[in-house]
């Protein structure tokens, strides 16, 4: 089994889990933000990032508490430690924000992403792609005579590795959800 470089989170130069080259001193952080589920909150958070020139490597949002109208936004961002502190402070001072948690610094946490991967091909390549999908425990959710769509859930590094393997086997398109994350253990974040 091909082992992807899981050096990601605190790379001081090298490659991030997503595979991009990361500069020296820049770190990738996964931040969970609990916000009021009201119109415009997502625009506000994204406006904060774009207005101040911070990176959004991935962003997911969904309502998590119907009774209290709260949503959880999970952002993967990268920057120097001073920038990361600024990002958290700026998020904290937004009025609809209840809580900002930096999962990368808080401790062990689980990160997952879902991807739909379309691969076209025939003959040997088609068989090989199916075999690799089995190894990665990806499911086939669509199949025609010359194409498959694989559904895969896993850590971003696993998805990155699978996609890389599909490239020479006829990868055509990828649709990813972005990272959701939650801490390990009993703490409620």
């Amino acid at each position: 089994m091909v082992q992807a470089k899981v050096s990601a989170r605190r790379t001081k130069g090298g490659r991030s889990a997503q595979g991009e080259v990361v500069e020296f001193g820049v770190e990738s952080h996964t931040i969970a933000v609990i916000v009021d589920n009201e119109a415009g909150v997502l625009a506000r958070v994204i406006g904060l990032f774009s207005g101040r020139g911070y990176n959004i490597d991935s962003l997911t949002v969904a309502e998590v508490d119907v009774a209290d109208h709260l949503s959880r936004i999970t952002v993967v961002t990268s920057g120097t430690p001073m920038i990361i502190e600024q990002i958290k402070a700026q998020l904290n001072r937004l009025v609809p924000v209840h809580k900002v948690t930096d999962l990368t610094t808080e401790g062990p946490h689980v990160e997952r992403e879902l991807a739909l991967i379309k691969v076209t091909g025939s003959g040997e390549k088609r068989v090989e792609s199916l075999r690799i999908a089995e190894i990665f425990r990806a499911r086939v959710v669509d199949s025609t005579n010359n194409s498959f769509v694989f559904e895969m859930t896993g850590a971003p590094s696993k998805i990155y590795a699978f996609i890389n393997l599909m490239v020479p086997l006829g990868l055509v398109d990828v649709s990813r959800t972005g990272v959701v994350a939650i801490s390990r253990g009993a703490e409620p974040f």
């Binding site: 009021d36 415009g40 625009a43 506000r44 207005g51 600024q86 700026q90 001072r93 937004l94």
Partner: protein, 586 residues
């Protein structure tokens, strides 16, 4: 707590009255007609009609800064709301509490490109502390009260409430939510005692201390300025203020080193560079203060007191951060200081003051006076001499005159100096003076202006005429956009591109056309009499003080230089071209 059935428009007025508002600044339009109708039929809430919505927001800012209350604006949808953007951005940068009510097209027309529709909430999202679009009449009273809370809590700022026209026509039940606290937004106001103690220890052991205070002290209230004054006098340490903090410490006190920063005094900037302990209180290490960041006060330990945690460690690494309202923190610091056994090293502090006095001898604010031309510094010195015994409020526009006003007018108390520091908005001063005069009808209110800036919101002279406001407009007329011309002289080889103010109006005739008195001085010997006449006149006055066209503001920290590399005069002129880093800075 009065509940009752009423229209949305009546609810707006009731909510404002329940919040203690007595005056609002606004301009009507289609989307807010119902609110204006309700205003017409009552007498408790006063409305000041401006002549441009930007004037309404600046007036609200002047009102807020001179009273400590929240300034309130009422404008219509579309262009009314977009005209407020500059003022809102200005209030955000200078942390002024403003609540701006904007009209909006009816809810079923939103998103339809209706007449006078604009995505107000989308446009003002980055330039306000928070904003709201009211979707249902049941939310109206709660949201207006919440807007006031957000505008005032923690670091003050502007809040926009967008109110669709069908909501204000509908009927609903009003609930008084004044005093309610937001469920998640509750800024910290009391500083961490451990950090405060650390700070006091550091200050007590300092050999070359400096207190660097800013607008946050003013925002905290007059008590904070008094606490700062007491603390400084108890410790005997030198104090410097930013342009937004002027008045927080009495300027005539010998412990005051003058304003610091790009155009601050030599002694203030040198003390910041050479200190070993810096107490930053209610200030934010703005680039006008720090100069080149990698050369800023390298050898000092820094204590930073600020109510906004995102302000701390943003530009400059600090050693002791304290998040809290400066008033509470100063109280605690004073208590700890008094209870300490260790006293500062009197010998070292004495030596530090001797060094500061040596720097003071440079007399960095000195200028070469003239017998033929009025020097702008001379005009302001003479103005100060005649106003200092009075209850006077000063607003300014932006540019050279603003810097000279900050250097030559001295403030003993807070809330008497209104200027646009963070955003630097030309056209701020005249409408701000309107707001100040409305708040203080019997005071002497003077807008120190340049002839370029005054043209930006000159239409507010009509507001001044309508309400018989005796505002004095003191124009330092040098025929150029002074500050820009100064930069073009230093950094662009003297190529004055588009900075000459061609086709200026005759300001005396302009004043008279608005029902005000117009005065002009062109020679130094006329200055005193013109100023005296300006002060004695009971109506509004415009003074056209024709000054030396090519005078420059000194000292100056050139763009990209370190904060101790000040140019002190024409002899010290900026030589050659600045570095590439310097050229890209504003």
């Amino acid at each position: 707590m009065a509940d009752g059935e009423m229209t949305g428009a009546e609810m707006v007025i009731k909510a404002l009255l329940d919040q203690g508002v007595d005056v609002i600044f606004g301009y009507p339009g289609g989307a807010v007609l119902p609110i204006y109708d309700a205003l017409f039929q009552q007498n408790s809430l006063r409305h000041i009609l401006v002549r441009h919505e930007a004037g309404a927001v600046h007036a609200a800012e002047g009102y807020a800064r001179s009273t400590g209350k929240v300034g309130v604006v009422l404008v219509t949808s579309g262009p009314g709301a977009t005209n407020c953007v500059t003022g809102l951005t200005d209030a955000l940068m200078d942390s002024i509490p403003v609540v701006c009510l904007t009209g909006q097209v009816p809810t079923h027309l939103i998103g339809n490109d209706a007449f006078q529709e604009a995505d107000t909430v989308g446009i003002t999202r980055p330039c306000t502390k928070h904003n709201y679009l009211i979707k249902h009449i049941d939310d109206l009273s709660r949201i207006i009260h919440e807007a006031f809370y957000v505008a005032k809590a923690g670091r003050p700022g502007p809040v926009v409430v967008d109110i669709p026209k069908d909501i204000v026509i509908n009927e609903g039940v009003y609930k008084n939510h004044a005093g309610a606290v937001h469920r998640s937004y509750q800024p910290t106001v009391k500083g961490d005692p451990t950090h405060i103690q650390q700070a006091v220890e550091l200050l007590a052991s300092a050999k070359r201390p400096i207190i660097y205070a800013g607008g946050g002290v003013i925002n905290s209230g007059p008590a904070a300025s008094q606490l700062l004054t007491n603390f400084a006098q108890m410790t005997g340490y030198p104090v410097t203020l930013t342009v937004m903090g002027l008045g927080a410490y009495p300027a005539s006190d010998p412990q005051f080193l003058g304003m610091l920063g790009m155009h601050g005094t030599y002694e203030a900037n040198m003390a910041m560079a050479e200190c070993d302990v810096m107490l930053a209180i209610g200030s934010r290490f703005d680039d006008r203060i720090t100069g080149r960041l990698d050369a800023f006060s390298q050898g000092s330990k820094k204590i930073h007191v600020d109510i906004d945690p995102s302000s701390i460690n943003k530009n400059v690494h600090v050693d002791v951060p304290i998040v809290g309202d400066v008033g509470y923190v100063l109280e605690d610091m004073t208590k700890f200081w008094k209870s300490k056994l260790r006293r500062p090293d009197a010998g070292a502090i004495d030596a530090w003051w001797k060094q500061i006095d040596k720097w003071r001898k440079k007399n960095s604010l000195a200028y070469k006076n003239s017998k033929k031309l009025i020097k702008p510094q001379y005009a302001l010195e003479r103005l100060y001499a005649q106003i200092k015994e009075r209850d006077v409020y000063i607003t300014t526009e932006v540019g050279q005159h603003q810097m000279w006003a900050a250097q030559f007018l001295k403030f003993e108390k807070p809330n008497h100096w209104m200027t646009s520091g963070g955003l630097g908005t030309m056209g701020y001063g005249l409408p701000a003076a309107v707001g100040v005069q409305i708040a203080h009808p019997d005071a002497l209110v003077i807008d120190v202006a340049g002839e370029a800036s005054i043209m930006m919101n000159i239409q507010e002279m009509s507001t001044i005429a309508q309400y018989r406001l005796p505002v004095k407009v003191f124009i330092l007329n040098n025929g150029y956009m002074g500050m820009v011309r100064q930069w073009q002289e230093f950094f662009h080889g003297g190529r004055y591109s588009e900075t000459y103010m061609d086709s200026l109006p005759d300001f005396v005739k302009l004043a008279e056309s608005f029902g005000a008195k117009g005065l002009r001085a062109t020679k130094p010997e006329e200055v005193d009499d013109v100023i005296a006449e300006m002060i004695e006149t009971e109506t509004a006055v415009i003074v056209d003080m024709v000054v030396d066209p090519e005078e420059n503001v000194y000292p100056m920290i050139p763009a990209g230089a370190a904060h101790y590399e000040m140019k002190l005069g024409a002899g010290d002129a900026v030589d050659g071209q600045p570095t590439e880093d310097g050229m890209v800075l504003v």
